[in-house]
């Protein structure tokens, strides 16, 4: 049996060359983000990367504070909301890692995403700032179309016709076609050199299960990346996952790294 388990995140990302296309998930909140792989790639330093992910503008509340302090100054009220006791600050006050750290670190030349901003109106994201400075090329894609394009990449399709974005500015540069009385736009598949996946458990064959709303783009990324690296809470023996409940078949997973106990999950 091929060994897919890597001991450290550093080793798992060591061979990612400059110019790679990386697919990775980020959506609202820390759930489902491969934070340790992102941090390892920041440390590794590969440049001229293309990132593909749902919300590449996303930064945590604490991240927003830090980022704003180092750039455009204070965010009215954010500090108070983070410091306040209760549920809202539990979300906003989390300090977690998002793909934005790669953008801030100057490693990214292109971003394909559905959301370039932060989740707080009026707070500019590192991605938006880099786009305005001309440092990053941005392609904005509707969220469901982005998910489907990644699936199409994994599925070996040449493209698909979607009704989303017809007769909006999004259709510029896209082929519009009427099929049986309805207009559609031609969408092309997305593939990646490396996919970063955050899962709950892996078995030694690479079969993965996820947790709740953290599943999201992760299983799609696994199918569309030439090399898929999964960070997981637990690695178990084949047979310990319910075969009816496996979400990502092991065939799609090349490398597995266990997240240290006690690390941010």
């Amino acid at each position: 049996m091929k060994n897919k388990v890597f001991r450290t995140f550093q080793e798992a990302v060591a061979d990612i060359p400059d110019g790679s296309v990386i697919m990775l998930h980020s959506f609202s909140g820390p759930g489902g983000i491969a934070q340790n792989l992102i941090k390892a790639l920041r440390e590794q330093g590969a440049e001229n990367l293309t990132l593909i992910g749902c919300n590449l503008g996303q930064i945590s509340g604490v991240g927003m504070l830090e980022y704003q302090e180092s750039s455009s100054g204070e965010i009215p009220g954010l500090r108070e909301r983070i410091d306040a006791p209760g549920l809202y600050s539990l979300i906003l006050g989390q300090s977690y890692t998002t793909p934005a750290v790669l953008i801030e670190n100057g490693q990214v030349k292109k971003a394909i995403t559905s959301w370039a901003g932060t989740s707080v109106v009026g707070i500019e994201s590192p991605l938006e700032k880099a786009v305005k400075n001309g440092g990053i090329q941005l392609e904005i894609v509707p969220q469901g179309t982005l998910a489907e394009r990644i699936r199409a990449g994994g599925a070996g399709l040449g493209g698909f016709y979607s009704p989303v974005g017809v007769d909006t500015v999004y259709q510029e540069g896209r082929e519009k076609r009427n099929i049986q009385g309805r207009d559609y736009l031609l969408e092309t598949p997305l593939k990646a050199d490396f996919g970063f996946v955050r899962a709950y458990k892996a078995d030694l064959l690479g079969n993965l299960i996820y947790r709740g709303s953290s599943r999201s783009f992760n299983p799609l990324i696994a199918t569309a990346a030439r090399t898929t690296i999964a960070e997981v809470d637990e690695i178990v023996n084949p047979g310990e996952l319910d075969p009816e409940a496996v979400v990502t078949p092991g065939i799609f997973v090349n490398r597995i790294v266990r997240i240290e106990q006690g690390a941010m999950k």
Binding site: L87, I91, Q143, G144, A147, V164, S214, R215, F217
Partner: protein, 224 residues
Amino acid sequence: MKTRLDTEVIAMRVAKEFQDGDCVNLGFGIGADAASYIPPDKTVIFHSEQGILGYGRILTEGEEALADFNLTHAGGKFVAPQPGMCFFNHADSFVMVRGGHLDVTVLGALQVSEQGDLANWSLDPAGRLGNIGGAMDMPVGIKKVIVAMEHTTRDNRIKIVKKCTLPLTCPRCVDLMVTDLAVIEVTAGGLVLKEFAPGWSPEEIQALTEPTLILADDLKEMEL
């Protein structure tokens, strides 16, 4: 200045539109709060685009112990688990959306036109940057599109217009608008004023609305 409805009341009025058994995507903004006003005799199943169907209520302050970072809705708030919920990936989630399997979506808007055109994703007329998210997918695929918004902008500019000047999210998609002043239906014949907020006259609402409003036969004060 006269009192307008607050966002909570708008959310309550939106919730009245849900039928028993409806599957609903609320996005975020005013609509998201509609989840809190479902009458006990109705089952409404909520969809969140990152891959949940049937999540429970949104947790409120004091429920920190229940918070799970693997159980948040698209707006990033913690939700409670609920019997019968299930999870799936993001592509399957938009199979539901695009494939016409969801009954209702509630969206915010920057502008809505007389024809039901929706603009809600970019303040830049050229649509550079901007955050599309799921905004373009939802109104294309979901059966009934409800816009929940303030009737005018904070600096009192008109949002319900003859023709949108901001980049469209989706043409001819809005079915109903619930604002802080009125309930307005988009019909083939034009915009029909169905309900007005307490203390407001149809004429006053018309003055804050660019297209001519058709008065519904059963025009009435908004009830909750």
